[in-house]
């Protein structure tokens, strides 16, 4: 590992920080989008199970 870091030269910190930041931003973005997708799917499934799409109350009477 230390050999790898030495191979990156005197600016290893800048290079690793760049890749680390990019990874952090992209993982955060991916998780946020996937969580939002899952939340909307749960909410939609719950509404459809309750028959929320029925346009009038006639079916219930």
């Amino acid at each position: 590992m230390s050999g790898f870091l030495e191979g990156l030269g005197p600016h290893a910190g800048f290079i690793l920080a760049s890749y680390g930041t990019a990874a952090l931003v992209l993982v955060g973005l991916t998780l946020a989008i996937l969580r939002d997708h899952a939340a909307q799917k749960r909410a939609l499934d719950a509404l459809e199970r309750r028959g929320a799409g029925r346009r009038s109350g006639r079916e219930a009477t």
Binding site: F14, A22, H37, L44, L47, R55
Partner: protein, 253 residues
């Protein structure tokens, strides 16, 4: 094969994207892994910039994607204002956070590359400032979507802001030619072909395609979430109206 017009329908888009997404994600992952391997273990150090050239492999694709997503949003804005395309404002809303993230990555990696090469993290020159303006426009668009509750009203307001902000995209691209700047001129997308050696160009192009496919996959998932959010909104309103009617009739909900 379905035409684009056929896909201009949320139900068809949901079916089509469900099939396409796993393939898009798999190809994106493969290309990013191969690209990173080439960038880290095969591409040589630059004769002037040394090992810091490895920052280019994420900085440049991030810059391209920040501009590409804004251009896609401008096309969607036209779709919203001119053709009232059913998926245009969904596509536009879903693209904004993704483009903003790539603009942020571009700025941060640029600063981390600038310090060892230029001796400073930041200068107020045309290229850097115009990319910062792009990030601020993205944030403004995201904020505007959140301020207005009615999606169709929000879509029209955001579409106008997006089209006005599009003037910044050619400024970013040509800023290095029009003004004196610390930033180097274009070395890949230029008249006369790339000036980068193939040993660096190939990893860059493979990573650019990989990140593009990843961003498009994320965009597709975000569009699916937005379509479902609108369906949830509509169904919630319908359910509330139905419960109101039942209550008025004196029947149990």
């Amino acid at each position: 094969m379905a035409s684009l017009i056929d896909l201009a329908n949320p139900t068809r888009f949901m079916r089509f994207s469900a099939v396409l997404l796993p393939w898009l994600a798999a190809i994106a992952t493969l290309l990013i892994v191969v690209g990173l391997y080439l960038a880290w273990f095969k591409a040589p150090a630059d004769y002037q910039q040394g090992e810091t050239i490895r920052i280019m492999f994420i900085h440049v694709p991030a810059a391209w994607l920040a501009m590409m997503f804004y251009s896609m949003m401008a096309l969607s804005a036209l779709g919203t204002l001119v053709w009232r395309h059913p998926l245009a404002d969904v596509a536009q809303k879903a693209a904004a956070p993704i483009g903003a993230c790539f603009a942020l990555i571009c700025l941060i990696t640029g600063a981390l590359w600038g310090k060892p090469m230029w001796g400073t993290y930041w200068v107020w020159d045309a290229r850097l400032t115009s990319v910062l303006v792009l990030l601020l426009i993205y944030l403004g668009i995201i904020a505007l979507w959140r301020v207005l509750d009615d999606p169709s009203r929000a879509a029209r307001a955001v579409a106008i802001l997006t089209l006005v902000g599009f003037v910044n995209v050619p400024i970013i691209k040509f800023s290095v030619d029009w003004w004196n700047t610390l930033h180097q001129p274009a070395s890949v997308l230029r008249m006369g072909g790339p000036t980068i050696h193939p040993s660096m160009l190939w990893p860059l192009l493979i990573l650019a395609v990989g990140f593009t496919l990843m961003a498009l996959a994320l965009h597709m998932v975000a569009m699916r979430a937005e379509i479902m959010r609108r369906r949830v909104r509509t169904l919630t309103i319908l359910e509330a109206e139905r419960l109101d009617r039942l209550a008025a009739q004196g029947a149990p909900a």
